[in-house]
């Protein structure tokens, strides 16, 4: 679609939309439908707006909700970053970034600070987000109560009544059984004092970043056909108890590559003798720090980072 864009991959393009497809794949009517859902989601923070998710050219469960939200908001001037597990170079992140390069011809980046739209799966970048940025989350199961009550007809009523006792009971049962709240990711939050919301399967380490965030946060669940939002500067509280306050994971060692502390680390198994190391999950954060300290070659070892810098 956009051969002139230097960001487009040269050979064997993953998604070659070809002529005849709309800008960012979706037709105008579908975009309007999604855009209307986004506006209502912003007006009712944390509430899951039903929308008629379309069948996208990537599988359900692989980011179709996030892709539809991104396609609906994206403009020609946007700069897109796509991460999966915090990394720009995981295969699904590469695939989605290429999809938008091919269908929208927009600029992409791996730098959090340079992006106007960031689509993510399972992480919030370490670098603080700023006003004007939009963070689009891919959501598998948008309903925070789903594993307590499988029926949509029931959970819808629970939200209508703001009846979240079930969730508190579940968290408290964890404490009774394990001595801890045993939820480590997709940790439920209360948005603006009203709706309990699933933050998508981000580690609870990232939950505090959602609170009072200057960026707009949009959530898309394609298979489950829901869109929800957290406007900027919105109170997002992780559910907890007075005697068991919400806590996040912290690591007692820095990233083995860049030395960053206070960030989320991936554990890498080095051999079959128990050797392992811990490195930044946010590859851009790590590379930026390495770049600053002239150690960039370590992380950039085989060079393939990207379509745009």
């Amino acid at each position: 679609m956009n051969p002139s864009n230097p960001a487009a991959a040269p050979a064997a393009v993953t998604v070659s939309a070809g002529p005849g497809y709309s800008f960012a794949y979706l037709d105008a009517g579908t975009k309007r439908m999604i855009r209307r859902a986004i506006l209502k989601a912003i007006a009712i923070p944390g509430y899951q707006v039903p929308f008629a998710a379309r069948e996208m050219p990537m599988p359900y469960g692989w980011g179709t909700g996030g892709v539809q939200v991104t396609a609906a908001i994206l403009g020609a001037a946007d700069v897109l970053k796509v991460i999966d597990q915090g990394a720009d170079d995981t295969t699904n992140a590469v695939s989605i970034r290429r999809f938008f390069t091919a269908t929208a011809g927009i600029a992409t980046t791996t730098r959090t600070a340079e992006a106007s739209v960031i689509q993510t799966r399972h992480r919030i970048p370490e670098a603080p987000l700023v006003e004007g940025q939009v963070l689009v989350y891919q959501v598998p199961i948008p309903e925070p109560l789903r594993f307590l009550e499988p029926r949509e007809t029931e959970t819808r009523q629970l939200h209508a009544l703001a009846e979240y006792g079930l969730m508190h009971v579940k968290l408290y049962e964890d404490i009774a059984r394990h001595g801890h709240i045993a939820t480590t990711y997709a940790y439920p939050v209360e948005v603006a004092g009203r709706y309990v919301m699933d933050p998508s399967p981000t580690p609870k380490f990232d939950n505090p970043k959602m609170d009072d965030c200057p960026a707009l946060q949009l959530f898309g669940a394609g298979r489950e056909k829901r869109i929800y939002a957290i406007p900027p500067y919105t109170r997002v509280r992780s559910l907890d108890f007075e005697d068991h306050p919400f806590r996040v994971q912290s690591f007692d060692r820095p990233c083995a590559l860049c030395g960053a502390e206070g960030v989320y680390l991936d554990e890498v198994v080095l051999d079959d003798a128990g050797g392992r190391m811990f490195v930044c999950s946010d590859t851009d954060h790590c590379e930026s720090r390495l770049g600053e300290s002239c150690l960039g070659e370590t992380r950039r070892a085989d060079g393939q980072t990207g379509e745009a810098a």
Partner: protein, 379 residues
């Protein structure tokens, strides 16, 4: 020195090249044409059209070729393509009573107006592998194809069995067409509980294997409905569309359909006298197994409407509709292949911590843990 894993892009490109290579198979073997798939793998093409919600035999055949014969993958290609097609409106309802029949059978009456038309069917074939097929065209070995063919049934003389029963009031009437707009789950999110039209749409798109198993479960006691095959008819129907600017219907052509009308026993309740009830199945092309399974499940999903207890999976519309779509199911099951190491890391930490606490409680001296650098700190 450790080097972080890179090269996702190169890996994807290489994977696609390999895929193209294995798709083609041994280049010494002639390549399949779309027309060959369309003509000789027709039941597969029909299934892809049905679950893909798009009547286009050539596209379905091409999708099957591209998908290396993976039905769900082919359905996926068709559905994603369907997303990009403009929508002009809804056709007039098709009249299956006026179907040009290739096959028509009833299990409820030995004979009936228009008769039984066996048509092309695997029924009553002995499932013996025909090694002759390996050598080429089997028709060359058939006695006389013309003599075997049955005359095409006369549509006018073949009233639907359900219409015959309905006249006597023994069968519940077909719901009247109030002209109300029919829901479309591809354009509106499903809002439970949904009406029968939306349920039937979901079932028609639903995975054949899933519906087969669910329908089977009703026969084994998980919500028994005492079904009889009132009629299965396979054939072509005319498709008509009324453009807004014309105001009268124009013919678009014909499509092949398989319709199954299941007749189920019902004891009546309250003001309703005992009568037979209906289960309905309709698919593109020839797909009797799917149409029958769909009719069984349709009838089961009417439990609440007919005052029956909703107690088994096949009667539970949230359960059936939320899980019958092969694309949704395969996408979510297969997405587990995607990296989850961020979440796994969080779980790993928790399990290590719980194990350490467990060990401490067992009065053993707490092991010096240099394994987990992860701990929890106040926010």
């Amino acid at each position: 020195m450790y080097v972080a894993v890179k090269g996702g892009e190169a890996a994807i490109d290489n994977a696609h090249r390999l895929l193209a290579e294995v798709r083609r198979g041994d280049p010494a073997v002639p390549e399949l044409t779309v027309a060959q798939i369309r003509e000789q793998m027709r039941l597969l093409v029909d299934r892809v059209m049905t679950e893909g919600s798009l009547y286009d035999p050539d596209l379905a055949a091409l999708a099957l070729k591209q998908a290396r014969g993976d039905v769900v993958e082919a359905v996926f290609l068709v559905r994603a393509y369907r997303t990009t097609l403009p929508r002009f409106g809804a056709t007039e309802p098709v009249d299956t009573g006026a179907m040009t029949l290739a096959r028509r059978i009833s299990a409820t009456f030995k004979d009936l107006p228009g008769g039984q038309v066996l048509g092309p069917t695997f029924d009553y074939t002995h499932r013996l592998v025909d090694f002759g097929l390996a050598d080429g065209d089997s028709r060359d070995r058939s006695p006389d194809p013309a003599a075997e063919a049955e005359p095409e049934a006369d549509a006018a003389a073949c009233p639907r069995v359900t219409d015959l029963l309905g006249q006597a009031g023994l069968l519940e009437p077909s719901p009247p067409d109030a002209g109300a707009p029919v829901g479309d789950l591809t354009r509106e999110p499903v809002d439970y509980p949904v009406d029968r039209a939306v349920r039937l749409q979901a079932l028609a798109r639903g995975d054949e294997g899933f519906l087969l198993a669910l329908g089977y479960s009703t026969q084994r006691g998980y919500g028994r409905t005492h079904p009889f095959v009132g009629e299965i008819r396979v054939g072509a129907v005319d498709l008509e569309f009324t453009p807004e600017e014309l105001g009268f219907p124009v013919g678009l052509g014909t499509v092949d359909l398989t319709e199954c009308q299941m007749i189920n026993q019902f004891h009546g309740h309250g003001a309703v006298p005992p009568q037979f009830t209906r289960g309905y199945g309709l698919v593109f092309g020839q797909g009797e197994r799917k149409a029958m399974a769909m009719a069984l499940v349709d009838r089961s999903l009417r439990a609440a409407e007919l005052g029956e207890a909703v107690a088994v999976p096949a009667q539970d519309q949230e359960f059936v509709l939320a899980h019958c779509d092969s694309l949704q199911a395969t996408g979510f099951v297969e997405h587990m292949k995607l990296p989850h190491y961020v979440d796994f890391q969080a779980e790993l930490d928790l399990v290590r911590r719980l194990r350490a606490e467990h060990a401490a409680r067992a009065a053993a001296p707490p092991p010096e843990s240099d394994e987990s650098p992860l701990r929890e700190a106040a926010e």
